[in-house]
Amino acid sequence: MNRRDLLISSVAAATGVGLAGCDDHGASKLPQAPAPTTGPDGKRLIPWQNWSGYQFGVPVQRLVPKDEAELSDIMRHAPGPIRPVGAGHSFTALVPTDGTLLSLRNFSGLLSHDQDSMTARLGAGTRLGDVGPMLDEVGQALANMPDIDSQTLAGAIGTATHGTGAGLGALHSYVKALRLVTPRGEIIDCSAEQNPEVFSAAKVSLGSLGVITQMTLQNVPTHRLKRRSWLAPIDELIDNFDQLVSENHSFEMYYIPFCSQAMAVAINPTDEPMQPRGPEQDNDAVMQMKQLRDWLSWWPGMRQRLLDMATRDFEPEEAVDVWYRIFPSSREVRFNEMEYHLPSEALMPAFKQVRERIESQHHEEFFPVEIRVVRGDDAMLSPFQGHAVSSSIAVHRYHKEDPLPYFASLEPIYQPYEGRPHWGKMHTLSSAQLAARYPRWKDFLAVREALDPDGRMLNPYLRQLFGIS
């Protein structure tokens, strides 16, 4: 038993409560992927599952095309629904298919770069974690990154994946051009100048227009970043949120349920000497917050008091490193997630309601709630479309616990503000509701119809999302 475990056990003894509660938090209601069956060759036929295990499917075939010619052939002839998959890190049912699952891992790497324009052309299946060193080596950097770097480029832009910063757009907003192989096997290059309507639709297209094989990114010169994280009273962070956002290149806030202190993370360019980040601590911290929930969910006052005392002496953390080692963290405690994007002025009113609802009705919650900002852009299905700066609130549920009651309880809060859900994260909006929130919804559907008239890329989830029977 290490020191931490010993101390945790002491909490149980000191508070005089049983270790684990009897409540399984809906574990028995979680959908379960079917067990692998045995194929004719005696080997396991493996179902596909997403990162959290909540989404799954048994494709009739899983293909790994080696080049565009083979991909074009697959697109014309393979059994549908044809679903491209990146790293499987979306929480919604975008990928499951009983037809053809396409892995784009052979479309990866840096294909070319141009120092004058600071652009780089990369394979669409390149994982963000590999993009970092590749770009750094040629003196370039992504302007921004999400919380993790496991996603592929195509998967990330396909759902409007973003990081945080008022001057920093989501990843797709830095795409200058991309190549699409359509369900009819055509290869279409598009950019603001070439096939602009397709380009505007394809940047955030949920894998419904064709398969993206490569893209050109507008980058910035490689640089060093300093990451600073600290705890402060949550009310103070709420009051100063706008100022902190405007003063920092990248800023986000984590609200810790049942704690008066919240965590702030600011990232800024620096010339200071390297000071790499230490081992990832967030995963242990989350599991220990779960432990505290297990013991004290029935006594929120004590839970808050203990969390407050525990967070009082937190020393701010600082790290300085190359950009791609500063932005992403490692998330090893799996979860399901719902994230809504809101107009900036709606952020704090909505967040205050979320906090109030968690503290009054969701004593089972322990995952920190993440609050970020994203610069607007003009892609047809970008949730940031039409906003100068969008704000977002993300809530999580441990992967072994049912996320639906919690998400259903919070989701109505975002509706009066016309919130737009993250395309890769769980929500229940209908196509009619989405159509009302996306001014270019019909334009997108028209491009989709033109490129995939037979709906070969539509799985049941996409049909329902787009309102196509």
Partner: protein, 117 residues
């Protein structure tokens, strides 16, 4: 109440709980030299595109490729168990590892390579 709690193990524990972000607990990971890439070019490419991101990074909880000591107790559970863990996810490892298209044979070969066998 506050005062008495102030000296209790509860407070000590919770300081550890939340300041887990600040006080780095040793991960117990030894420095491991990355093994040479698999000789089979296809397997080398597969490893590079999938497992490497976590199994060659000291920032994740994954056993490092080539760390035979870390892999020994895992291998002792039997290959079936390890493949099952890979397919369904285990602790921080998501279902399918990071390979969306691997067959059972691919998983076995990748596990053997990382375990140094």
């Amino acid at each position: 109440m506050k005062k008495s709690l102030g000296n209790s193990a509860v407070v000590a524990a919770l300081v550890v709980i939340v300041s887990a972000c600040g006080n780095s607990a040793p991960t117990g990971k030894a420095q491991v030299t990355a093994p040479p890439p698999p000789q089979d070019a296809a397997l080398a490419r597969l490893y590079d595109q999938t497992c490497r991101a976590c199994h060659a990074s000291s920032r994740t909880g994954a056993p490092m490729a080539g760390d035979t000591a870390a892999w020994a107790p895992r291998m002792a559970q039997g290959m079936d168990v390890l493949v099952e863990h890979t397919i369904n996810g285990y602790n921080g490892m998501p279902p399918l590892g990071a390979c969306m298209d691997c067959s059972e044979d691919d998983y076995v070969a990748l596990i053997r390579y990382m375990a140094g066998q």
